[in-house]
């Protein structure tokens, strides 16, 4: 029944039938049939894609796939757009992390990049980055000036979930103790605040769209920092955002946590320097040995 003579219309009918059958099987809780129909549907959809593409060869956007250079953002500044857009993903991430100077998750990297740098950096493109970097390092150690590495957990020096760092940073900064998420959060707020202040002096090179995004990002940090936002004005109106005030408030709370966080991070770093190879220091300890707490079981 899946012959190649099927017209696009016939195929569409079959797709509709498959979807209906799939839903009926889901209602019947028939797991085996659901799996089978999902496969059939998937095959028919691919077939449809091929046929549709064949019938409309002019579909221009099909050319762009994940490995191709990012399309130029309409928001990119007028000057040097092509150059900025052609920056490889790892360099875009490096650029962003260098602004933040703390470990960051893909979502934050994307948001900061979007606010302060030209070109696009979808979070989906960060997914494979860590693996690629490690592979590159292992095939030719230290061939590159820097690597993008995971942050390390203080207790096991294992790779921390989702957090990216730069290999050239001091090890202390790349390690996550119990207080580090808060310290890094507050640090991030100060960095975004000062970036916002200096970028707003750039004039037209920084687009209003990007500025709005930067302000929205800073505000999302400010709501969780005591004293970072002014009092609400009228009912329903959001309090004004003052980057200086956010930065000062973040620094004020930072002073409370810095000492204990520094102690925890440097203890772990010392331990890491004593016990781990360079590769392990960069990409994390995969053996599940627990520091400090081997006696607990």
């Amino acid at each position: 029944m899946q012959n190649n003579e099927e017209t696009l219309d016939e195929l569409e009918n079959r797709l509709a039938q498959l979807r209906r059958a799939l839903r009926l099987a889901m209602v019947e809780r028939d797991a085996a049939r659901v799996a089978q129909l999902r496969q059939q549907l998937h095959r028919a959809e691919s077939l449809w894609e091929d046929k549709a593409a064949a019938e409309q060869p002019v579909s221009a956007a099909d050319a762009s796939d994940a490995s191709a250079p990012a399309p130029v953002s309409p928001d990119a500044p007028v000057s040097e757009p092509a150059l900025a857009a052609l920056l490889p993903t790892r360099e875009q991430v490096h650029q962003t992390l260098s602004l933040l100077e703390v470990p960051a998750a893909p979502k934050l990297i994307t948001a900061v990049h979007e606010a302060f740098f030209p070109g696009e950096l979808p979070a989906s493109r960060l997914a494979s980055l860590r693996r690629d970097e490690e592979r590159s390092y292992r095939s030719a150690p230290n061939a590159r000036p820097y690597y993008l590495c995971p942050a390390l957990t203080a207790d096991r020096l294992a790779p921390a979930r989702a957090l990216l760092t730069v290999s050239t940073w001091p090890l202390e900064r790349r390690i996550m103790g119990a207080h580090s998420p808060r310290v890094d959060f507050l640090t991030t707020a100060t960095k975004i605040a000062s970036a916002l202040i200096s970028y707003s002096q750039l004039g037209p090179r920084w687009t209003p769209d990007a500025q709005t995004r930067a302000e929205r990002l800073l505000r999302s940090f400010a709501v969780s920092i005591p004293g970072a936002l002014g009092p609400p004005t009228l009912a329903g109106h959001v309090p004004a955002l003052d980057p200086d005030q956010v930065g000062d408030a973040a620094k004020a709370e930072l002073s409370v946590h810095l000492e204990v966080d520094r102690r925890q991070r440097s203890e772990a770093a010392t331990w890491a320097r004593d016990r781990l190879s360079e590769a392990e220091r960069l990409f994390g300890n995969r053996l599940a040995s627990v520091r400090n707490s081997a006696s607990a079981d």
Partner: protein, 501 residues
């Protein structure tokens, strides 16, 4: 539930189809109701996916959203919905008439017609209330949230949702409640909340019993839910993949794919709405076939009064309904609802022998034959005057009346009011009830001829509908805004009781 209604459910099961529970229809139906079927995105508080709206089975407007989480699309949807609903309301507002003064009442204004919205079920009423709450306040000036038509739509939806809570009001009717009031099915009250299962019992397809038809209509693929919630398998198979493709196509500038998936989404959503749309019109036709109760005319006037005063409130620049339901207002509202419930129930009993019979099973009405009478009985009033107070005694097999200090009336002789004076158990299951005529008996010199029924005559007494003598509360529109608040659906839990943080 009365034992009569409960028994009717058993008969419905035995006969394989629903059994009528009412002789007349107690809600008004306008010639041109606005039917609204709406679907919402699961997991979101109020993010409409699509709706079908219109005044005729073949006069529908379909509105869809390709990404309900997107604020701008949501507002575009509301603006389109406002463009359908507001002109419909406006045409009724234009029927404003001047009513002449009546004794005790100054001249006033009332719209000759009022809008009526029909939805599938109670969940849709609650949903419209939420939508009303989410859009009735205008955003800050000069933003995208300033569109006055959206805020106005929100105010009207809030108004309709509040009226829907009011017993006897016909401004916003959930069809399942209407059908379940008029027919007893052979299933549970919970199952009666499904429009397709109700209809399955009321008009089972040829060859199927009600229970078989209801079972068949439980399949959400064959019978899409009436909303606002969609079927999860629809979300998973039809909706989500297309939404994702659509978003990706938009992001990558692939306009062809974006347009195609938008059309597909629209078709998919229409396929979920259309069966319910047709069912609502089927259900409406069933209701229309039932003759209208006499007293529903007065209740519809009441609706038109409320509609008129809300319309004037808006025209005069009045504020939208506030968010907080203050304690005082909540108490007043409860009292008002309580009175409205009694009034509505009492009135239905006078209009409908089925309701009267239901009341006879629970002791709020009784019927029987007259076994003794004293038509000339006189007593001395507190002022020392001789007055006529006829009494008569009724033998009944009904459970004896519960309330004593209540005015009772026989629907067949509405000019005479009586009160229960004595209840005596007779033989098994029988009671002798002596009542005294307290109004409509005439005077000693000129007794009313038919105030006391003859011996062996069959009589039936039920509560006389009255406002219970309570002072009229100011209507919501005449109440200062500090004392009004929206009504929350009763299924909601007040979290402010807990330690709010």
């Amino acid at each position: 539930m009365s034992s009569l209604a409960a028994l009717a459910r058993l008969h419905a099961t035995r006969q394989g189809r629903a059994e009528r529970l009412r002789q007349v229809r107690h809600h008004h139906l306008v010639d041109e109701p606005l039917v609204l079927v709406i679907l919402t995105m699961a997991g979101e508080a109020a993010a409409p996916l699509a709706c079908m709206v219109g005044t005729g089975r073949r006069q529908s407007t379909l509105l869809t959203v390709t990404q309900p989480r997107n604020r701008d699309q949501r507002r575009a949807f509301y603006a389109q919905l406002a463009a359908v609903i507001l002109p419909h309301i406006r045409r009724r507002e234009n029927t404003l008439q001047q009513l002449p003064a009546r004794p005790g009442k100054p001249p006033r204004q009332r719209c000759a017609d009022a809008p009526q919205i029909i939805v599938a079920n109670h969940a849709t009423v609650d949903y419209l209330s939420l939508v009303g709450r989410s859009i009735r306040f205008q955003g800050p000036p000069n933003t995208t949230e300033t569109d006055p038509s959206i805020a106005l739509l929100g105010r009207w939806l809030t108004f309709f949702a509040e009226r829907a809570e009011y017993p006897g009001s016909s401004m916003l009717l959930p069809l399942t409640a209407q059908l379940a009031a008029h027919w007893a099915t052979g299933q549970s009250i919970l199952e009666d909340e499904s429009l397709s299962k109700l209809l399955a019992w009321i008009e089972p397809p040829a060859g199927l019993t009600g229970v078989q038809a209801a079972l068949r209509s439980e399949n959400p693929v064959l019978f899409p839910p009436a909303g606002p919630a969609t079927d999860p398998t629809f979300d998973a198979v039809e909706l989500e993949p297309r939404m994702i493709t659509h978003q990706q196509a938009l992001a990558s500038g692939d306009h062809l794919t974006a347009a195609r998936t938008a059309t597909e989404l629209q078709d998919a959503l229409a396929s979920q709405l259309r069966p319910t749309w047709n069912q609502v019109w089927d259900g409406l036709a069933l209701l229309r076939a039932i003759p209208q109760a006499a007293r529903s005319v007065r209740r519809w006037e009441d609706d038109r009064d409320h509609f008129t005063s809300h319309s004037l409130h808006i025209t005069r620049g009045g504020a939208p309904q506030p968010v907080h339901d203050q304690a005082v207002d909540a108490a007043r509202r409860l009292a008002r609802l309580e009175r409205a419930i009694h009034m509505f129930e009492d009135e239905q009993a006078l209009d409908d022998p089925f309701v009267l019979a239901e009341r006879r099973t629970v002791g709020t009405a009784f019927a029987g034959v007259v076994v003794a009478r004293e038509p000339d009985r006189q007593v001395t009033s507190a002022k020392g005057r001789r007055i006529l107070r006829p009494r008569f005694t009724i033998r009944t097999e009904d459970p004896p009346p519960i309330a004593r200090d209540q005015d009772l009336v026989d629907p067949e002789r509405p000019r005479t009011i009586v009160r229960v004076r004595e209840v005596l158990p007779e033989q098994q299951d029988m009671h002798l009830i002596t009542v005294e005529v307290t109004a409509g008996m005439g005077s000693v010199s000129r007794p009313a001829a038919d105030a006391v029924p003859e011996l062996d005559e069959l009589v039936c007494y039920t509560a006389w509908p009255s406002q219970w003598g309570a002072a009229e509360f100011p209507s919501r529109e005449q109440t200062p805004w500090t004392h009004t608040g929206p009504s929350a659906p009763q299924t909601f839990t007040d979290l402010s009781e807990a330690e709010q943080t």
